[in-house]
């Protein structure tokens, strides 16, 4: 992949200050939600971002959208540094990076019609669709996402969860963006409806040449849709590689534990299935462990893990599936995690 990435993130950091006092606020620490995250997104690619709640994956999404200001690091969109974009520059950037939210119930304004919701981006970017054109454009979008264009005057409550998520996707598509950030787009949907929405997203990606950042905790869904996957733990990427490298040849203990914890939808052999059960809970991001952040729950941890932070890099001796992993003791371990 020698093409220029559509999105490049370098050493992204977001610390939320912890303060004490009401009038005179004193900073007593920081929640280190995102602590040095770097990745590239190629045109037409889907990058999956997985991790447990609190690992910072949604904060990364907000930073990319400039909904939160970064504490340090750089976000580059097609060669242009957009980290500190504001005003009209920010407006132009947001046209190209859109977001689809998790909860189709709260992310749509209940007092606006579907037509107004999907057409609202055109109020901010009138250059994309001249006034007279809008209704037609919105109806086209409804058709593209598989909804009846005649329902343009309906309100969100008249639609089911899956249909609402389609409305959210149509709104994301309205400005012909290049990147769509999907934050848990199917996790609020019923199982039988999830597949419909995933298929839709894959179809749209091909049709419009979109790049996706796909954030989810459902590892089998992420595997299905992603080209590459990054695993996050406590604000850092611990392992990144192609879908096959991560799922078939994971080298970081956290990735291995995460994969082995996913229940396999097949009862055959469950009596003998080996499973890594992590003990304890994720430490507080306000006070992360020294060295490797996973060491407090890791069965491989040794003295070096407390002293030296392992870098996210490709390590020697891992064969032809070698990929970046932030562990001093990275080695491949096969995990039985899905049906074939």
């Amino acid at each position: 992949m020698s093409t220029e990435p559509v999105l490049r993130v370098e050493n992204l950091v977001k610390h939320f200050p912890l303060t004490r006092g009401v009038l005179i606020q004193k900073k007593i620490g920081a929640v280190r939600a995102v602590d040095g995250v770097s990745f590239d997104l190629q045109p037409g690619e889907t990058l999956g971002l997985v991790g447990e709640s609190g690992c910072g994956k949604s904060t990364v999404a907000k930073l990319l959208m400039n909904l939160e200001r970064v504490s340090a690091g750089r976000i580059v969109f097609k060669g242009q540094d957009i980290t500190h974009a504001s005003g009209s520059a920010l407006k132009a950037v947001r046209r190209n990076i859109q977001m689809v939210f998790q909860d189709p119930y709260t992310s749509l304004n209940p007092r606006m019609t579907v037509g107004d919701i999907i057409g609202e981006p055109y109020d901010i970017h009138p250059e994309v669709a001249p006034k007279g054109d809008r209704r037609k454009k919105v109806q086209d979008l409804l058709d593209v996402v598989g909804l009846n264009p005649e329902h343009i005057n309906r309100y969100p409550h008249q639609f089911s969860g899956g249909q609402r998520q389609r409305i959210g996707i149509a709104r994301g598509l309205a400005l012909n963006p290049e990147v769509i950030i999907c934050d848990e787009p199917v996790s609020a949907l019923d199982v039988s409806v999830q597949a419909q929405v995933i298929n839709l997203m894959e179809r749209l990606q091909g049709e419009f040449g979109l790049s996706y950042i796909f954030i989810a905790h459902d590892l089998s869904v992420v595997r299905h849709i992603s080209d590459r996957v990054a695993v996050m733990y406590l604000g850092k990427i611990v392992e990144v590689g192609t879908e096959d490298q991560i799922y078939e040849h994971p080298t970081h203990p956290y990735t291995q534990a995460l994969l082995s914890a996913v229940p396999v939808p097949d009862p055959e052999g469950r009596e003998t299935r080996e499973r890594i059960i992590l003990t304890g809970d994720v430490p507080s991001p306000a006070n992360p462990p020294s060295g490797c952040r996973f060491r407090t729950r890791c069965w491989k941890a040794q003295d070096i893990c407390a002293k030296e932070e392992p870098l996210l890099e490709v390590r020697a001796g891992l064969g032809d599936t070698a990929h970046a992993s932030a562990c001093h003791f990275a080695e491949v371990m096969e995990i039985v995690h899905t049906t074939n």
Partner: protein, 346 residues
């Protein structure tokens, strides 16, 4: 570091722990009558894990709430049916009698531990309440029992944490406290309603492992309500699949994953992302789950079903037996089971 699951418990002869017979539950609302449960029957034996699988609105939780006797009536009404617990019909008991059973003989674990626990009392007080109310213990003895229970569900430093409040625990620990509370009086039956849906996978594995271990130890019957086909495959002995308030398929766990006997089950299993289908469209069940106020005539699944013929829109399919402990409520059950693929599946 590893847990093992035991061999599945098959349906045994003898008196079942719980027998739900032809249960109907409806909700009377301003907009009409929502028929949430339409003739559900199932049995649970001691030591058995029965998984009730279904999407939101399938009636799986309402059935469980009716068993526990925690439905708000009105708006809910039970026009028909029986719920026999150890041979006695719960629906014919007085509230007082049922209250004695709850907690002592049957207990429930809820999905959202933060709203199920009372935020203004310490967890030790809430755990101890079981013993004070049901066993008449003193505060001091009850607290000692609470510490024991927290140890049982592997809460570290139970003695010092017994006075903490629910918000001071993580989600996984709170869920373990819910399990402790359900187990407090050593009930015969536990109903777990989506017990791990709100948890991360690594914590889910911890909690399900704990639940399975304790169930084995105390030989309890467990009803596991979930929409997660993975969790079911891990722990269930037998499965009932619900759709629009009815059981559409029941089977031992191995059989149903190998060879589903109802088009809905088949569709659910087919829509799981799989390795060999990477890069292809997922199989998606078309359409939406029905509105419970306007359940389609005939088979409720017919508008979404690739096997549907005319008979499906007019006649409610009866349960067709499909071998040991198996049945499917489909006019074409045998064809579905034998893998005869209708035109637009796959």
């Amino acid at each position: 570091m590893t847990i093992e699951t035991s061999d599945p418990v098959l349906v045994q002869p003898g008196v079942p722990l719980l027998e739900v017979e032809d249960l109907h539950v409806e909700f009377h609302t301003r907009d009409g009558v929502a028929k949430a449960v339409n003739g559900v029957s199932y049995k649970v034996h001691p030591g058995e894990t029965l998984a009730v699988l279904g999407e939101s609105g399938s009636g799986k939780s309402v059935t469980a709430q009716a068993v526990m006797g925690i439905l708000d009536m009105p708006p809910a009404r039970i026009p028909r049916g029986a719920i026999k617990f150890q041979g006695r019909d719960l629906l014919k008991m007085s509230n007082e009698e049922r209250r004695k059973l709850r907690g002592q003989r049957m207990a429930m674990i809820f999905q959202d531990s933060l709203s199920a626990l009372n935020p203004v009392y310490s967890v030790g007080f809430q755990l101890g309440e079981m013993f004070r109310v049901h066993r008449g213990m003193s505060r001091k003895d009850a607290k000692a029992k609470a510490v024991e229970l927290m140890d049982l569900v592997k809460i570290p430093a139970a003695r010092t944490r017994v006075n903490d409040y629910p918000h001071q625990f993580s989600g996984g620990m709170r869920q373990r406290i819910m399990i402790a509370m359900a187990l407090a009086l050593e009930p015969d039956l536990i109903i777990a309603d989506e017990p791990t849906t709100a948890l991360d996978v690594t914590v889910q594995a911890q909690v399900m492992g704990l639940l399975a271990e304790l169930q084995r130890e105390f030989h309890m019957g467990l009803i596991l309500i979930t929409h997660d086909l993975g969790v079911v495959a891990d722990v269930a002995d037998n499965i009932v699949v619900m759709y629009a308030g009815r059981i559409v398929e029941r089977a031992p766990v191995h059989a149903i994953y190998r060879q589903p006997g109802h088009p809905y089950t088949k569709g659910l299993l087919a829509s799981i992302p799989r390795l060999d289908l990477k890069g292809q469209d997922l199989y998606a069940i078309k359409g939406l789950p029905p509105n419970l106020m306007r359940i389609p005539s005939g088979c409720a699944f017919n508008p979404r079903c690739p096997y549907a013929r005319d008979v499906c829109t007019t006649e409610l399919p009866a349960a067709v037996p499909l071998g040991t402990g198996r049945e499917s409520a489909c006019h074409f059950a045998q064809a579905v089971l034998e893998g005869e693929v209708a035109a637009d599946v796959h």
